[in-house]
C-alpha cells in the first residue's frame, strides 16, 4: 500500500472531524470531532514516518496523544461545569463567549 492511501484516509478523517465541529451543537460531539481531527493528523504523521523510515513522525504522534489527553481532561472539565450550571451542553444556546 502506498502512502497515498493513508493520506487520503487521514484527510477524509480530518474532514469528517472538522465538519463535526462545525455542524454539531452538542459540545461533547464537537469534542469528538476535534479528537478525530487530531487522530487524522497522527495517521498522516505515522504514514510519513513509515515512508521515510525515521522515527520523527512517530515521536510527534506520541506528543499529539499526550497533548490530546491533557486537552481532553481540561475540555471535559469545562463541559461538565458548563452542564452543571446551564443544564445543557449545546454551544449555540447562548453566545457564551461574548460575556
Amino acid at each position: 500500500m502506498t502512502v497515498t492511501a493513508y493520506l487520503i484516509l487521514a484527510s477524509v478523517l480530518f474532514t469528517i472531524g472538522a465538519t463535526t465541529v462545525l455542524v454539531r451543537r452538542n459540545a461533547i460531539v464537537m469534542f469528538m470531532g476535534v479528537e478525530l481531527m487530531l487522530n487524522a493528523a497522527n495517521l498522516a504523521f505515522l504514514a510519513f514516518s513509515r515512508m521515510y523510515g525515521t522515527l520523527d513522525g512517530q515521536l510527534a504522534a506520541f506528543f499529539v496523544m499526550v497533548v490530546a489527553a491533557a486537552e481532553v481532561v481540561v475540555g471535559l472539565a469545562i463541559i461538565v461545569s458548563l452542564f452543571r450550571t446551564r443544564r445543557t451542553v449545546s454551544v449555540d444556546d447562548e453566545s457564551l463567549m461574548r460575556h
Binding site: V91, S95, L96, R98
Partner: protein
C-alpha cells in the same frame, strides 16, 4: 569649597548680635506659621504673639545694629552663611544673609515701623473675627521683606521677593468676601508677576555670564569688566522691570491704587516699610551694575521722573483719601527711583528718603485709618472737613506727616527730598535740567495735593453725613501714630546730622566717586525755589479747600478733560485694558479655540475612529463557538492555499 570656608570664617568673626540675624527672619515666620496652623484656638492670643514676634525681630536687629556700630566702617559688612542650598557639579549656592549698612537700615525700618503698625492693628482690627489670620499675614509679610533685604544673593532675595508678593496678595484681598477687593488683590498679584519675569530674566542673564548669583560674586565680576555693556544694560533693564512691578513704578503702577482695598494698616505697611520699597532696595543694591551701564541708569531716571509726576498729578484729583495717599506714595517712590538712578551719591539719598518716607507715610496712613475709624469707614474726603477740632491727636500727628512730605524745614522730608532735588540738578547736558526741574515741579504739585488732602479732611466746613459722630481713636492706635509723628518731625534732621550718606558709603561706593559735583544751579537757589513752589502749592490748596470761604461740593463737580483724566488714573487701566488685557484675552480665546477644535478634535477623532473600527470588528465576535471554529478553518485553508500558490 574655598568660598564656604571663607563665609564660615566671616560668620565666626561676626559679633553675637549679627550672627543671630537669622532670627530676625525666623521669628516672624515661625509666628506666622503658628498662627495659621493653630487656627481658631489661637484667636484669643494671636494678636499678642504677632506683635511680640515683630517686636522681637526689632530687638535682635537693634542688637546687631549696635554690634555693627562698634566696628570700623569698612568692617561692618557680614556674610552669614546658613546652609548649602543648591549643590550641583562645580556649582554651589549657599543660602545666606548679608548684613551691612544698607540691609540693617532696611531691617530697622521694617521691624520698627512694622511693629508700630502691628500694635495699631490690634485696636484697628479688634472687631474683625479674623484678626488672628490678619496678624499671621502681617508677620509673613514682615518676614518675607526681611528675607528680601537680608539675602546675600539674588536668589535668596527672590524668595523674599515672592513672599512679599504672596503676603501682599493675601492682605489686599483680606476682605475677599467683596468681589472688587478680591479683584484688586489679583490685580496686584498679576502686576507683580510681570515684574517677577524681569527679575527672573535678570537672574538668568547673570547666571549665564557670571555663573553666580551672589551679590559679591556678581559685583566682583562686573567691576572686573568680564561682561559687555550690552549684557549689563540687559541686566539693568530687567532689574528695573522687576523694581517697577514691586515699587509700582510706571508702567506697572496701576495695582497700587486698587491695593487700597486692604485694611488700612496693610496700606501703611505696603507703602512705608515693606513691598514698594523693595524695588528701590533692588536698584540701590544693584548699584555696581548701574554704574557700568549708562543706558539702564537713564531708564531708571526716566521711570522715576515719569512716575513722580504721574503720581502727583493723579493725587491731585483723587477724592478717596487712601487713593490720594497711594498716589503720593507712587510719586515719592518715583523720587527714590530718580535718586537711585543718579548714581552712588543719589542712592544714599534715595535710601534716606526711603527711611523718612517710611515714617511719615506710615503716620499718614495710620492717621487715615484713624479718620476712617471715626467716620464709619468713610474714605470720601468730600464728606470730611472740620475734623481737626474733634480729633486733635490725629490732627497733630497727620500734620507732622503732612509737613514732612511737603519738605518744610526742619521736618524730615525736607532733609531727604531737598537733597534729591539738588542731586537731580547735578550733571552735564540736558539731563540735570530736565530731571531737576521735574523733581522741583513734583515737589510743588506734592505740596498742593497733600495740602488738599489735609485741608479737606481736617479744615473747612464739616460735610459729614447725619449718622457720623467722629471721635478720637483709642490709645493703642494713637500711640503708634504719635511715635511715627515724632519720627516725621526729626528723623530727617538726625539722619543728616549723623551723616547717613557717609554711613552708607561702603555699600554705595560713593567714596570712589569724584568729590560731590556742583549742581548746575546754586544750592540756595534750588532750595529757595523749591520752597517757594511748595508754599505756593500749599497756599493754593488752602484757598480752594481750607479757608472758611472755600466751598467744597459734596459730589465731585464736573471738571475739564485733564481733571477727568487724572480721576481715572490718567487712563492707565483703560490703556492696560486696550493694549494688554483685550489682546491677551483674544489670544487666549484663539488658543482655546485651537485647543478645542484642533488638539481636542484630533484626540477625539482618533478615539472616534478606533471606536468605529472596533465596533465594526466586534460584530465578528458573535460568541458562537462554531463560527469561531469556522473562521479558524477558513483561515487555515486560506494560509494553506497561499503557501501552495507560492510553492507551485
Amino acid at each position: 569649597m574655598n568660598g564656604i570656608d571663607l563665609t564660615l570664617l566671616a560668620a565666626a568673626e561676626a559679633p553675637t548680635g549679627v550672627s543671630l540675624m537669622w532670627l530676625v527672619v525666623a521669628i516672624p515666620l515661625a509666628s506666622a506659621a503658628i498662627l495659621l496652623l493653630a487656627g481658631r484656638a489661637a484667636d484669643a492670643w494671636g494678636h499678642i504673639l504677632g506683635v511680640a514676634a515683630s517686636a522681637a525681630a526689632f530687638v535682635v536687629a537693634a542688637w546687631a545694629f549696635f554690634a555693627m556700630l562698634g566696628r570700623a566702617p569698612a568692617e561692618r559688612s557680614f556674610n552669614l552663611g546658613l546652609f548649602d542650598w543648591i549643590t550641583g557639579g562645580d556649582f554651589n549656592l549657599q543660602a545666606g544673609l548679608r548684613i551691612d549698612q544698607l540691609s540693617i537700615s532696611f531691617v530697622l525700618l521694617v521691624t520698627f515701623v512694622g511693629t508700630l503698625i502691628h500694635i495699631y492693628s490690634v485696636a484697628y482690627m479688634s472687631h474683625d473675627p479674623d484678626r488672628r489670620r490678619f496678624f499671621a499675614y502681617l508677620n509673613l509679610f514682615v518676614a518675607a521683606m526681611l528675607l528680601l533685604v537680608l539675602g546675600n544673593s539674588y536668589l535668596v532675595l527672590f524668595v523674599g521677593w515672592e513672599g512679599v508678593g504672596l503676603a501682599s496678595y493675601l492682605l489686599i484681598g483680606f476682605w475677599n468676601q467683596r468681589l472688587d477687593y478680591a479683584v484688586a488683590a489679583k490685580k496686584a498679584f498679576v502686576a507683580n508677576r510681570v515684574g517677577d519675569v524681569g527679575m527672573l530674566i535678570a537672574m538668568m542673564v547673570m547666571f549665564a555670564h557670571f555663573h553666580t548669583l551672589t551679590f559679591d560674586g556678581v559685583f566682583e565680576q562686573v567691576q572686573a569688566d568680564t561682561a559687555s555693556t550690552a549684557v549689563l544694560t540687559a541686566i539693568g533693564l530687567a532689574l528695573l522691570l522687576a523694581a517697577c512691578g514691586k515699587s509700582a513704578q510706571f508702567p506697572l503702577q496701576s495695582w497700587l491704587g486698587d491695593a487700597m482695598a486692604g485694611p488700612t494698616p496693610v496700606s501703611a505697611l505696603i507703602h512705608a516699610a515693606t513691598m514698594v520699597t523693595a524695588g528701590v532696595y533692588l536698584v540701590v543694591r544693584s548699584g555696581p551694575i548701574y554704574i557700568h551701564t549708562e543706558g539702564a541708569r537713564l531708564a531708571v531716571l526716566i521711570v522715576g521722573a515719569i512716575t513722580l509726576l504721574y503720581g502727583a498729578i493723579v493725587g491731585c484729583a483723587k477724592d478717596d483719601m487712601k487713593k490720594a495717599l497711594a498716589a503720593s506714595t507712587m510719586s515719592q517712590i518715583g523720587y527714590m527711583m530718580l535718586a537711585a538712578g543718579l548714581g552712588p551719591v543719589g542712592a544714599a539719598f534715595a535710601i534716606m528718603h526711603l527711611l523718612t518716607h517710611g515714617f511719615f507715610k506710615a503716620g499718614l496712613f495710620l492717621g487715615a485709618g484713624s479718620v476712617m475709624h471715626a467716620m464709619k469707614d468713610q474714605v470720601d474726603m468730600r464728606r470730611f472737613g472740620g475734623l481737626g477740632t474733634v480729633m486733635k491727636l490725629t490732627w497733630v500727628t497727620m500734620m507732622a506727616g503732612w509737613l514732612a512730605i511737603l519738605g518744610i524745614p526742619p521736618f524730615s522730608g525736607f532733609w531727604s527730598k531737598d537733597k534729591i532735588i539738588e542731586e537731580a540738578f547735578v550733571g552735564t547736558g540736558w539731563q540735570p535740567w530736565v530731571f531737576g526741574l521735574v523733581a522741583m515741579l513734583g515737589a510743588g504739585i506734592t505740596a498742593f495735593y497733600m495740602s488738599r488732602l489735609f485741608f479737606m479732611v481736617f479744615h473747612g466746613q464739616a460735610r459729614w453725613t447725619d449718622d457720623q459722630h467722629p471721635h478720637e481713636a483709642p490709645p493703642l492706635m494713637t500711640v503708634p501714630m504719635a511715635i511715627l509723628a515724632i519720627g516725621s518731625v526729626d528723623l530727617g534732621g538726625i539722619l543728616c546730622l549723623i551723616g547717613f550718606a557717609k554711613w552708607l558709603e561702603p555699600v554705595t561706593q560713593a567714596a570712589g566717586e569724584a568729590a560731590e559735583a556742583e549742581p548746575v544751579l546754586a544750592v540756595p537757589v534750588i532750595t529757595v525755589a523749591t520752597l517757594v513752589l511748595v508754599l505756593a502749592g500749599a497756599a493754593l490748596a488752602w484757598v480752594k479747600f481750607g479757608a472758611k470761604t472755600a466751598q467744597v461740593p459734596v459730589l465731585p463737580p464736573p471738571a475739564n478733560v485733564l481733571v477727568k483724566a487724572a480721576r481715572e488714573d490718567l487712563f492707565q487701566d483703560t490703556a492696560n485694558d486696550v493694549f494688554l488685557v483685550r489682546p491677551g484675552q483674544a489670544v487666549v480665546k484663539g488658543l482655546t479655540a485651537v485647543d478645542g477644535k484642533v488638539v481636542d478634535g484630533a484626540v477625539r477623532g482618533i478615539g472616534c475612529l478606533v471606536q468605529t473600527v472596533g465596533g465594526g470588528l466586534s460584530r465578528w465576535q458573535t460568541g458562537f463557538v462554531r463560527s469561531y471554529a469556522a473562521s479558524m478553518l477558513a483561515g487555515v485553508i486560506l494560509l494553506a492555499a497561499i503557501v501552495l500558490a507560492v510553492w507551485l
